[in-house]
């Protein structure tokens, strides 16, 4: 018999805000040491009240619009009660009754074609802290850095029918959110609960559903789906076990799932509306503001670059990093040619980064600095080789390009008299080469030219020097 697997996903995405969702502590990427980033509010001390971070609403709406959702213009927060040491208030502020986004739809493409995935809802909530267990001392430590970091949870309809579709969807979310500055989507910032059931093909009723919680690695998700599908099919086909609706834990090292204790899964969360947070009303003005700030999608950006004459291969590299696109656009906005900037980024910058064992995503140069270098080269004020030297210094040492050029006297010597003197000296110092050149050996010119450039420490305009040199040798 043939079987069909049906999967629904709940995906938690950490939002890229500067501060936490209800207090002014630093957001997703701030903390370094445990409990570095904690205040009386996010550690649950009495007397503190949650104050809504507007940016969270804006990012959630942006994500909703990207996923084709309807936006609830009146949205409220609820409290979800449960005890766990990583939850300092013993409740999580989330949205149950009136989530911010509903009824979305996206298409995902796999080798088997395109599938439509329905988005049931997106809601905002706060993250919990982390427990660090020391098995040796048999104690647990609590780290509240992650407490109250803003999340959105994206709940799909059970529209997936293969691990491939799930992975394609998650990859799409990742690139969409990274490109849209919704989330950095780095390791652990995107976590999935997978709801899975299997039924004989053609059956109308869904099979028994099991849930695997809190998985963040795509490879593990794929393995878990494949394992769990096979387990369900075995149970249906060969009666190896009776399937029950339950939450199971995926053990990636053992390569199998285990049932979790009932106690952990059958909680009554006693949700109720949070009286400390007023309903959020998104009026037309705010909505327009959010829409105006909507990031363009990677597809739109790619088309824009293609129109600017950038090659397909280059575009692919560029749009994989939103940061790089921003750098390119900002540099172009300062008066540089897009195609030229793309070449500087993908050839010169990337080359320098590679030497330092860094990736394009590590590129840290301002549009101002990059445009200064590109313009100086374009205007002939420094030559391209020097341009690259300056670029290296900017990327590696963070110097200011103008100051660096000045300090090292790298600008092109426009004083023709000075250059002429240098050339004369080089001709006198290389009589053999001069004779060879005059005897018809074109290549001999290179030795004299090289001597000139050495003397000028690379700062001369090579074209000018070369023509002057040829002129002098002709005379």
């Amino acid at each position: 018999m043939k079987y069909e697997v049906t999967i629904g996903l709940e995906t938690h995405v950490e939002l890229a805000t500067n501060s936490k969702i209800f207090c002014s502590c630093g957001g997703h990427s701030s903390p370094k040491e445990p409990n570095d980033c904690v205040c009386p509010a996010c550690s649950g001390m009495p007397g503190m009240l949650p104050v809504m971070n507007k940016k969270v609403v804006e990012l959630a709406v942006t994500a909703g619009l990207m996923l084709g959702c309807d936006i609830n213009r009146y949205t409220t927060f609820d409290k979800k009660n449960y005890y766990y040491p990583d939850l300092p208030c013993a409740y999580q502020i989330t949205q149950l009754f009136s989530p911010i986004c509903v009824n979305g739809k996206v298409s995902v493409t796999t080798k088997n074609g395109v599938s439509e995935i329905g988005i049931k809802q997106i809601h905002m909530e706060e993250d919990a802290g982390k427990l660090v267990h020391d098995d040796w001392l048999d104690v647990s430590y609590v780290d509240f850095n992650r407490t109250s970091v803003p999340l959105i949870e994206i709940v799909t309809h059970p529209d997936f029918h293969s691990a491939d579709e799930v992975l394609a969807y998650l990859e799409m979310l990742k690139s969409m959110f990274r490109f849209g500055n919704i989330s950095e989507c780095e390791e652990g910032a995107m976590r999935c609960d997978v709801n899975l059931s299997v039924r004989p093909e053609g059956a109308t009723e869904l099979g028994v559903r099991t849930e695997m919680k809190n998985m963040s690695s795509l490879a593990a998700i794929e393995r878990a789906i494949k394992y769990e599908t096979a387990r369900h099919i075995d149970a249906l086909e060969r009666g190896t076990e009776v399937l029950v609706q339950e939450t199971r834990r995926w053990d990636d090292t053992k390569g199998r799932t285990f049932p979790m204790r009932n106690k952990e899964t059958e909680a009554d969360y006693r949700y109720f509306p949070d009286p400390n947070l007023m309903p959020i009303v998104i009026d037309d003005e705010w909505m327009d503001e959010i829409k105006a700030k909507m990031p363009v999608s990677a597809d739109v950006k790619a088309k824009e670059y293609a129109d600017a004459g950038i090659s397909e291969k280059e575009i692919e590299m560029l749009v994989s990093e939103r940061k790089v696109c921003d750098l390119l656009d900002d540099t172009a906005a300062l008066g540089c040619n897009k195609k030229e900037v793309a070449a500087w980024i993908l050839t010169d910058c990337a080359g320098i980064l590679r030497k330092n064992a860094l990736l394009l995503s590590d590129l840290n140069i301002s549009a101002q600095a990059l445009s200064t270098i590109i313009k100086k080269v374009g205007e002939g004020k420094i030559n391209r080789g020097i341009g690259k030297k300056v670029l290296t210094a900017v990327i590696e040492k963070g110097v200011d390009p103008e100051a660096y050029i000045k300090e090292n006297s790298l600008d092109v010597q426009v004083d023709e008299g000075f250059i002429s003197g240098v050339i004369d000296k080089a001709i006198l110092a290389n009589p053999a080469a001069v004779a060879d050149y005059k005897g018809g050996k074109e290549k001999a010119l290179q030795a004299i030219f090289g001597a000139c450039m050495r003397e000028l420490r690379g700062s001369g305009d090579p074209a000018v020097i070369k023509s002057l040199l040829e002129q002098k040798l002709k005379d």
Binding site: P40, S43, G44, M45, P46, G47, M48, L49, P50, V51, M52, K79, N81, Y83, P85, P88, C89, A90, Y91, V142, D268, R270, Y271, F272, P273, P275, N276, L277, M278
Partner: protein, 392 residues
């Protein structure tokens, strides 16, 4: 016996009840479970008083999390329960006191001690720095000896605070105390009058007479909604208290039981040993009304009742300027067993629930309670001042 759990400055002129935070002073909301907790900041209301030149003398005793009858200080020679803050004010220890009103305790205490207490319109005073129990209805109020000083202190602490998401936008409030009350109309709610004993009835009658003598029209009429309001607020208040007190789990601060072998025992024993029976009953009741099987019929229905009560009370204020009721069922309470506390407080909340439930202001003065429309504190102060001047 002292009114204070902590003395802060012997020369101070203000008392603050132990559910409000004062930086550096232990804050326990009267509960063992917060033993040793020291806040890192002061409540906004305290800061505003200090900025206006007042100094906190000390933190007054309070019933655990403000859930009890009067903010228990103890019993006097006549075996009558007194509230610590109200007594400190009555005995001129301080010029005024800040108390959190979540279920009427400071109002009852003020009535018993013969001082004034205003529970202002919800959202006018910041709740920042209040050890929260019932967020949707609790407010910081002012206890003082005269109507004028009560109004003056309230105007110091009222006003917008960005640190409280439910704080209203007005930057400041000016409270009238001398409105011309002649010709204004006051309603005595029959059900609340009938629920009180003769001593409490006599207070209401005397107050009404004083008003009438100054040209105020006083009418008695039935308003059965008081019973629904009472039930709804007890449900919402208990649920929110259950939720807010969940954080006291022995993990982060306050009391931690020495008797545990695992995390479940840590939670259960800390809370069992750290809370009194009234708190536990409230928490259990609150947990029950939020549970899956009961949410729709209890909690959600109470939210709907709140809306109905709001509409009906607003309608009343279409024809009346204020409501006059007893503040409690009698003029005092004898000491009672903690075993009876839950039902006793529930019973007494009949008189006090509406202002907590729908956020209207309530002023206790001359041993009785006046309720007013939202932002109509000025009318309440003016009526009370009229009676005060008449010697009532």
């Amino acid at each position: 016996m002292s009114y204070y759990v902590t003395k802060i400055n012997e020369n101070g002129n203000i008392a603050v009840d132990d559910t409000l935070l004062v930086k550096g002073a232990p804050a326990a909301a009267g509960s063992k479970i917060l033993k040793g907790f020291e806040p890192l900041f002061s409540a906004e209301a305290v800061v505003r008083l200090e900025n206006a030149g007042y100094t906190v003398l000390g933190k007054t005793k309070v019933g655990e999390f403000g859930l009890d009858l009067v903010g228990e200080f103890g019993v006097d020679a006549n075996d009558t329960l007194k509230g610590a803050a109200a007594e400190a004010v009555a005995n001129d220890e301080v010029a005024g006191a800040l108390c959190v009103d979540l279920n009427g305790a400071p109002r009852r205490a003020a009535a018993i001690s013969g001082v004034n207490f205003i529970k202002p319109t919800y959202g006018t005073v910041s709740r920042y720095g209040v050890i929260a129990a019932a967020c949707s209805g609790e407010q910081v109020g002012v206890c003082a000896k005269t109507v004028k000083s009560t109004a003056a202190l309230l105007s110091v602490i009222a006003g917008h605070d960005a640190k409280d998401g439910t704080s209203l936008e007005n930057e400041s409030y000016d409270y009238d105390t001398d409105l011309d009350v002649k010709g204004s109309k006051v309603l005595v709610i029959k059900e609340l009058f009938d629920a009180a004993d003769d001593t409490a009835k006599a207070k209401v009658d005397a107050f009404a007479e004083a008003l009438k003598a100054n040209g105020v029209v006083v009418e008695t009429a039935s308003f059965e909604t008081v019973f629904e309001a009472q039930a709804a607020w007890q449900i919402l208040m208990s649920a929110e208290t259950c939720n807010n007190l969940s954080r006291y789990d022995g993990v982060k601060f306050g009391y931690r039981t020495p008797n545990y072998n695992n995390i479940d025992e840590l939670y259960v024993n800390t809370r069992t040993e750290g809370m009194n029976l009234l708190t536990k009953a409230t928490v259990l009741y609150g947990s029950d009304v939020l549970s899956k099987g009961r949410y729709t019929d209890c909690y959600d229905k109470s939210l709907k009742v709140r809306r109905v009560v709001y509409d009906k009370v607003k309608e009343l204020f279409g024809s009346f300027d204020a409501i006059l009721t007893p503040a409690l069922s009698s003029t005092g309470y004898n000491a009672y067993s903690i075993n009876d506390a839950f039902l006793k407080v529930y019973g007494e909340s009949l008189f006090t629930a509406i202002p907590n439930l729908i956020g209207i202001p309530a002023l206790v003065s001359g041993g009785v309670q006046l309720m007013g429309n939202h932002f109509d504190e000025g009318m309440l102060f003016s009526l009370a001042l009229t009676a005060e001047r008449s010697g009532k």
